[in-house]
């Protein structure tokens, strides 16, 4: 489905994330909260788990070989159980010190709309799991899958900006799925690169697979994948945020079977999408524009 990256490019991308800044709202919130010695651990976790960059960095650290954990850690809260809130706090502060992602990268990719997309997909995937896949997948895993599924795009926009800009243009001008455009211009799509990174950081295998295959209709389905794909469809169809891959009505034919036939009825069962959107907007700092 996608050709291999050159080893040189692969190295460039895996080291890239070290230097990747976090999102403005989380950096600001973390700096404010940590000035108070009594800051509540749950509030800190709440901020970190809304920021894909912070989440990735924390999970990468906790899953490193030094801690030899029997099961891979897939949530920020779990990381707190293992490392303690003070260590997580200081890690977050060190990530905050790297700086903040600019709203628009040189590619024109709107980083805040990307965040809004990732956050709404994460929230909806968790809800879908609770309502349609209870016992088959972990809602928090679905949340993380939603938050990180398009992480490859942030890496592209930061470190392969010219090629990614081309992909974005092709997707819009030729009405092509973005991942196909990426394969043409970069040689690998964001799903492949996201999964490559997730694997490198020893994330749990189902999460790696979910990121890798979220655009691959031939991949073996799983409950987590169903929830992620369905959430992605819903959020793109409702135009919650934007990650460079506009909704195409013909995608409806690929709706996972477990949710029944009509996207409207799934949306109705998920509940209050506007509240999800408002929550995500307040964090992504997008306000009411979309």
């Amino acid at each position: 489905m996608s050709s291999q990256l050159t080893p040189e490019l692969e190295r460039k991308l895996t080291t890239a994330v070290e230097r990747m800044p976090a999102f403005p709202k989380s950096v600001q919130a973390i700096l404010e909260m940590t000035r108070n010695v009594d800051c509540l651990p749950k509030d800190l976790v709440g901020v970190i788990e809304k920021d894909p960059v912070m989440t990735v960095k924390i999970l990468r650290v906790i899953n490193s070989a030094y801690y030899g954990l029997p099961n891979k850690i897939t949530s920020v809260a779990q990381s707190v159980v293992y490392l303690g809130i003070n260590t997580i706090k200081n890690l977050a502060l060190s990530f905050a010190a790297v700086g903040i992602l600019p709203r628009f990268s040189t590619t024109g990719f709107d980083i805040q709309k990307y965040l809004l997309h990732s956050l709404t997909v994460a929230f909806v995937a968790r809800l879908l799991c609770e309502k349609f896949a209870r016992g088959e997948a972990d809602p928090m895993d679905c949340y993380i899958a939603g938050l990180l599924h398009d992480f490859g795009k942030v890496v592209f926009t930061q470190f392969l900006s010219i090629e990614f800009m081309k992909s974005l243009a092709i997707a819009v001008d030729f009405d092509k799925p973005l991942h196909i455009a990426e394969q043409e211009t970069i040689g690998a799509d964001h799903a492949y690169v996201g999964a490559l990174l997730a694997k490198k950081w020893q994330f749990a295998e189902p999460l790696v697979e979910c990121i890798r295959d979220h655009h691959n209709p031939a991949a073996a389905p799983s409950a987590m994948m169903d929830c992620l794909r369905m959430a992605d469809m819903i959020c793109r169809r409702q135009a919650f945020g934007d990650a460079g891959n506009p909704w195409r009505e013909e995608e409806l034919s690929q709706m996972p079977a477990r949710f029944g036939g009509e996207i409207e009825s799934v949306i109705a069962k998920v509940g209050d999408l506007e509240k999800i959107l408002a929550d995500a907007q307040s964090f992504a700092q997008i306000g009411t524009e979309r």
Binding site: K42, A65, Y66, Y67, G68, L69, A77, L83, T87
Partner: protein
Amino acid sequence: MKVRLWGVRGSIAVPGPRTVRYGGNTTCIEVRGDDDALIVLDAGTGIFPLAQSLLAHLPVTAHIFITHTHWDHIQGLPFFIPIFIPGNTIRLYGAFDLIAQRGIEHVMQVQLQFSYFPIREAELKARIEYETLSVGVPVTVGEAAVTPVLMNHPVPDLGYRIECNGKSLFFTGDHEPHYNIYSPGEEGYDEYQAAIEQRQAELDAAIGAVDLLIVDSAYTSEEYPHKRGWGHGTFDSAIELAKRVGAKRLICTHHEPTRSDDDLERVFNEALARHPDFGCEILLAQEGLEITL
């Protein structure tokens, strides 16, 4: 195996008449394998009298395992006199420092800086080796095996399980039993609780039914609510841990620095009274206490 306690105090050394019976030095435990191999757990101020005791038997090879890098567990390191004497070998083991992104060599470099200590690392005469540990991966020291276990403290903290010819001991370093950061009913509570219980079970399994369990029991249960999140356990949590894993003997250590000997005995006896059915020997850590396993 032989165990000798050289420092049993938490946070800061507190010499003086109020602590003369149990001792004022910060954490340091000497463990000797059956082949007499020297394992030192932590380098608080208690490592200084230990060092004095070694000078009659030079050269020494010392395997020093650091639980974590808070001052009370490392501050004696530059005063471990064998590091200045040629012919000795000191091997320092400890956790990877996540924030500094450095291995355990960091601890020596930080302490031996010009402003804080007159001798540079390069000037140490003994052979100094460093080994940054991976959690769960045992290290062999003579006939003994030392396995690091990740504990719960405001900085990554390793407990150590030492096994030698069928005998075993576990030292928690500083450790606070996990608690839920959410309140009952809040979103995230159940999930966090499940993660804690799983973690607790993993920890209990890693500790196992040891012959000797040495546990951070800094606080009383009454004091604990004001100290939650500070990274220390209570007498009661230590006793519960010993019960769960089926330890044969328990030593309560990391005494609160303001606690006098009399107060220490009083709160200890109160805790014992709350656990009348406790099935194993339980002792207060005391400088000079020696146990043969």
